[in-house]
Subunit: 689 residues, 2 copies
């Protein structure tokens, strides 16, 4: 067992200081009449004990009967079992409620001021409890509350790129994996606390292991540990480990999934093929699914990265992705499981942006109902900014999910502050025009089974979970957006800051400003903020991979040459519906922030405001560093308003970010200057001559 | 995995404040020379570290050799291994000692003041350590101590009505089940702490799951959790879970048992019958027992509720209960296991009180040696007061155990303070006249293998374990009474209060008075204290089940009508030995507190003191509320003598009890008045007219 003291993230539950609010809360929540049947309700009771204990400054009194001698109480349970709930909620309301929905309502019952949390399922009640606690953490009134809330998406998954092999996390920047496969089925307190974090924001599925399920062996590794590559989790001997961890997540309303290797019938079985049309292969998967469900009866399903970056897939047998995915879909179907099949497939012979569409759009309608095609937000690979994937709105007959990266692979790797919620909002709100105007990406992900969001996780063994304390906001924000993609970024930010750092208005304002300034700053100094991307160091064997600048390494992505910069991606623009396709195809209409993604333009091409492309790139790179300096200074001013440990850690990260931002700036502007040969108008760019 | 801060109950180990006592204790117990062989001795060492650390105000120094440089020490271990023990105890004393007995003796050895704890077994030594610590918690002297103690009963079990299914506890009023079957074999700290509590009072067996091993599913419940119904614990895949938890209890001297379903050969096996005379059924049970003992080599055995309240049994195959029980007895016999076969069997066609006797008495002598018939204290069902079961003293050829209810199903469900020890003492001390005068129930339970006590547990996941802090006294008192039914209630109360709340004389007196006033108060306001019972609300689907008053629901139990109240149970009275049968059958001789249990009397029937029945009922109901008020006020006065958290919690429970007692009183007196039409002499009963 490893160390167990770690941060509470947004579940801090600081004591309410305002006497009027505290008094109102204490009246309604000192006494808790809560149902006890079922693990989810046990979790809800525990969370109320912890949360109310913190917020009220004293332990709540738990009851199993409605207390008569008090001025008010909180009731959590089913309508049919509790008169106070019946007084607050009609039967029809419960009947009409989504199975994950809940009602939080104040009611006067037998002369008492009560709050009722109820739902159609235990899971809904757990969500309702978290809603109530979130509301109290923000000091919002309880006297007259009436909340009926349902999720806008059905599937809200976190994808872990955690390797059972050596407990590493691919693109993880917060230490080793929290999942201890060697010691499972023995459980860690940390699993519970992670499940609490996820449940508190409505995550309902977790993929435990990396989509890359095969990894080369490393010299010096303990052979007993090396045995545990991702694909091996499917072996029956490892299923009790999966079952144990699933038991923790289940009671928090979260189904467990595994990433599987397409060649599993060969690797984990004794077949010599994984051909999706082979009967033995189909039988193997069906039996394997039976075995998995025998251990985990509510198992979620499989996530697959096939024919991509060295992983096997149906192409190995000249079959297409629908044939590949449906093979697994058929095996899972009797158990209610689902296949998440990643659309991240590319070969090197043509521009990467067009390939997912070319591969998947022709297969629309061929996927089984229990197959979801999981599409990254953009066509490349989680760059600081990309246009949306052209597959959104192009597969009307297919269940699709949007894959977002919570972990900061290309946005500072947990050293830099970079708040991803505005980035995600941009993707989700982008209108695809698939059904004419008003068909944003988020609507394609909503309210149908098999549709939703998948976020690549960012937690690790670090005491703060996410490397950077501020990066906790990305996990929080992802969950909240997955629950309701209509939420605006500012609302999410405000919720997170208040729960994490308290309700001091100066702190709320400063931290909110820092978060909202952070992504533009990263865009400025790492890309020049005109749609360039993929300018980072890219050597797989070093830790700086995808972290340091290295614009000369992959010129094909940004097209820098003596005559200009940017890439003509008119072929990609054509994959969109009108008028999006025309907008991106036009230099005039294409938004500045995507201009060089879609167009190769001369260095001296004039932008709307008269600035040249190269000067804008210089300006933005310099501006980005100043934005970091400003964030750093803003944070420094909070030194007596945030607890010392967290304040110092974040301050030191900002010092590091500033130094690294300068390195990016200097590398980028030198590279631009080398190709453009046009000096900076303000004389800031170092010149070799 | 869940929250881990909970109360220490009676193992508080508060620091000794009196300088003379502390000095004496420190001289003898600062240094501990303790054997380290065996898990029970490891537990003993841990308990000494915790206990002495608290009591002495400093960590004890543990030695593995007799320390020479000190003035005195505590020695815990076997006579043959330690010279200091040989100096204190003769070999013959050890040879004569019961295997669970122990000796605690002061001795001067090599000029040092020593205390010796020794026994014939490691378990005995653990009990001796708890005895010593209990003595010190009560500040009793150690200078000249000589204790030789043995249990008076062989079997001292706690029965858990905990459902693996959804972690609920049937008749549990302290939150969810502490047993986390989903996550077992992963162990919780709480299991160890629960085992400590049980071992400290001498419990030596635990039945982990509810006697109702089948439970209907509930809408909204997570189906993945429903899988774990009680009967499924016998499945081989779940036996590692049983083995894990057994490993914790074993080292605390406690054997693990399971409740099993009589139809297990059908449910968990692939047979189509559970007929006890079927060879395949016998073979199935034998093989299942082999399997269980393969996982838990000291497994205790099976507890069975058969042909009762919907559970299957031998009646399904026209076999009797001896045939049913002996089937399981034969399977367990090769492994030293035991069957506890509940006598709680009734059908609806005649008065419930007579049915257990009618069913079981004719079978006396037919049960195997390793079958114990487990009889509830009274003939109905754990009512606030009942006469003893007529089976006690009627089955001389059968091993019997007395089943008591620690949990407060009908006595306020952990909201009301109700100390059960005096209730149990009444049962245990009642003379059955089975072997002429002087054959009390307790003697029928004593000193023979297979005889003893079974208590239905009252702990749950609540921080205080038992819902009400004062209800911890029932768990404590049950254990102490099971060890020695001759202990008087006052002794047990004094022990518990001192260990739980310290030795402040005012606190000891007040809490002791409250405990002893509590049962009579409950009898007064819930029954009128003339032997009525079963007047509570009885809808299974609501949390108020068996909690609220509802006297009109089951009039057959109390017989209220216009002409009088009470039930003629002369048939039941006849089942007792003389002169008990005549005493109960006679209106004149029957004790007041059981009068209406045995007799239907006119409302205006005059009692010995000239009061009428209905007036006594009125008076007692009103008096009961005043008794609660008095307990509440008495507790309130302790607000600066008991720590704030516990004081506030109990104070709030008393407020609630007072409100609920009034509700009972008002409901009952209105009901009596409605039938009797006789006004209250003091004008307190509300009248409709």
């Amino acid at each position: 067992m490893r160390v167990t003291d770690y941060d509470d993230c947004w579940l801090q539950y600081d004591a309410v200081e305002d006497p009027a609010i505290r008094s109102s809360y204490r009246t309604r929540c000192t006494h808790v009449f809560a149902s006890t049947e079922g693990p989810e309700l046990g979790v809800a009771r525990d969370e109320l004990r912890t949360g109310l204990g913190g917020l009220l400054g004293r332990d709540p009194h738990l009851w199993m009967h409605p207390p008569r001698s008090v001025d008010g109480f909180l009731a959590v349970g089913r309508r049919e079992r509790m008169a106070v709930v019946r007084a607050a909620v009609d039967a029809e309301e419960i009947d009409a409620l989504h199975e994950e929905g809940y009602i939080v309502r104040s009611v006067e019952w037998e002369g008492k001021d009560c709050i009722v949390v109820t739902a159609a399922t235990d899971k809904g009640m757990l969500y309702g409890v978290y809603h109530l606690l979130r509301r109290m953490a923000a000091r919002r009134p309880l006297a007259d509350v009436d909340i009926v809330e349902e999720p806008k998406t059905e599937e809200r998954l976190v994808n872990h790129w955690d390797n059972p092999f050596r407990a590493s996390v691919e693109r993880g920047y917060a230490g080793t994996s929290i999942f201890d496969w060697e010691q499972l089925p023995d459980l860690r307190e940390r699993y519970r606390d992670y499940a609490r974090l996820l449940a508190s924001v409505g995550i309902n599925g977790i993929v435990l292991n990396n989509v890359n399920t095969q990894k080369p062996d490393r010299p010096g590794a303990n052979p007993a540990v090396a045995e545990m590559e991702g694909w091996q989790l499917l072996r029956e001997r490892n299923l009790p480990k999966v079952a144990a961890i699933a038991s923790v997540f289940r009671r928090h309303g979260i189904r467990t999934y595994l990433s599987v290797n397409y060649a599993a019938p060969i690797l984990a079985g004794d077949l010599d093929t994984a051909d999706p049309l082979d009967d033995d292969v189909a039988r193997w998967w069906a039996e394997k699914a039976d075995e998995v469900y025998d251990h985990v009866s509510d198992f979620g399903g499989f996530l697959v990265k096939a024919d991509s970056e060295g992983q096997p897939g149906p192409y190995d047998y000249d079959r297409n992705h629908a044939e590949g995915a449906n093979l697994l879909g058929r095996a899972l179907e009797p158990h209610g499981g689902r296949v998440y099949w990643r659309a991240f497939v590319y070969a090197s012979h043509k521009d990467r942006s067009v390939q997912a569409y070319d591969t998947f759009e022709p297969l629309d309608g061929e996927f089984l109902d229990n197959v979801t095609v999981q599409i990254k937000n953009g066509p490349i690979d989680f760059q600081p900014r990309e246009p949306i994937s052209s597959l959104f709105g192009s597969m009307p007959e297919t269940s699709v999910a949007c894959e977002l990266q919570i972990t900061q692979e290309y946005t500072g790797q947990g050293v830099h502050a970079c708040y991803h919620v505005p980035l995600w909002k941009e993707t989700l709100d982008t209108d695809t025009y698939a059904d004419g105007e008003g068909t944003p990406v988020k609507d394609l992900l909503s309210r149908r089974e098999g549709r939703g969001l998948a976020g690549v996780g960012n937690v690790g063994e670090d005491p703060n979970w996410t490397g950077h304390y501020l990066a906790q906001s990305n996990l929080y924000g992802y969950g909240r957006l997955a629950w309701n993609p209509d939420l605006d970024a500012e609302t999410i930010t405000d919720e997170w800051v208040r729960q994490t750092f308290g309700n001091d208005p100066d702190v709320v304002e400063a931290v909110s400003d820092i978060l909202h300034d952070s992504w533009p700053a990263v865009l400025d100094y790492t890309t020049g903020h005109l749609g360039l991307m993929h300018m980072m160091y890219n050597q797989d064997d070093v830790l700086e991979n995808h972290y340091n600048p290295s614009p000369g390494e992959w010129p094909g992505y940004h097209g820098a040459s003596e005559d200009g910069i940017g890439v003509d991606r008119s072929e990609y623009a054509e994959q969109f519906h009108s008028p999006l396709s025309e907008r991106y195809a036009s230099v005039e209409d294409c938004p500045d922030e995507l201009l060089l993604f879609f167009h190769h333009l001369p260095w001296d091409h004039e932008l709307d405001d008269g600035t040249t492309v190269v000067q804008r790139l210089y300006d933005n790179c310099f501006e980005g560093v100043e934005e970091v300096r400003s964030m750093r200074d803003r944070w420094a001013e909070l030194d007596d308003r945030v607890d010392t440990a967290r304040h110092r850690h974040v301050a030191e990260r900002f010092d590091e970010q500033l130094a690294h931002a300068k390195h990016w700036r200097d590398t980028m502007v030198a590279y631009f200057y080398d190709h453009a040969g046009i000096p900076d108008a303000h004389g800031r760019v170092p010149r070799d001559d």
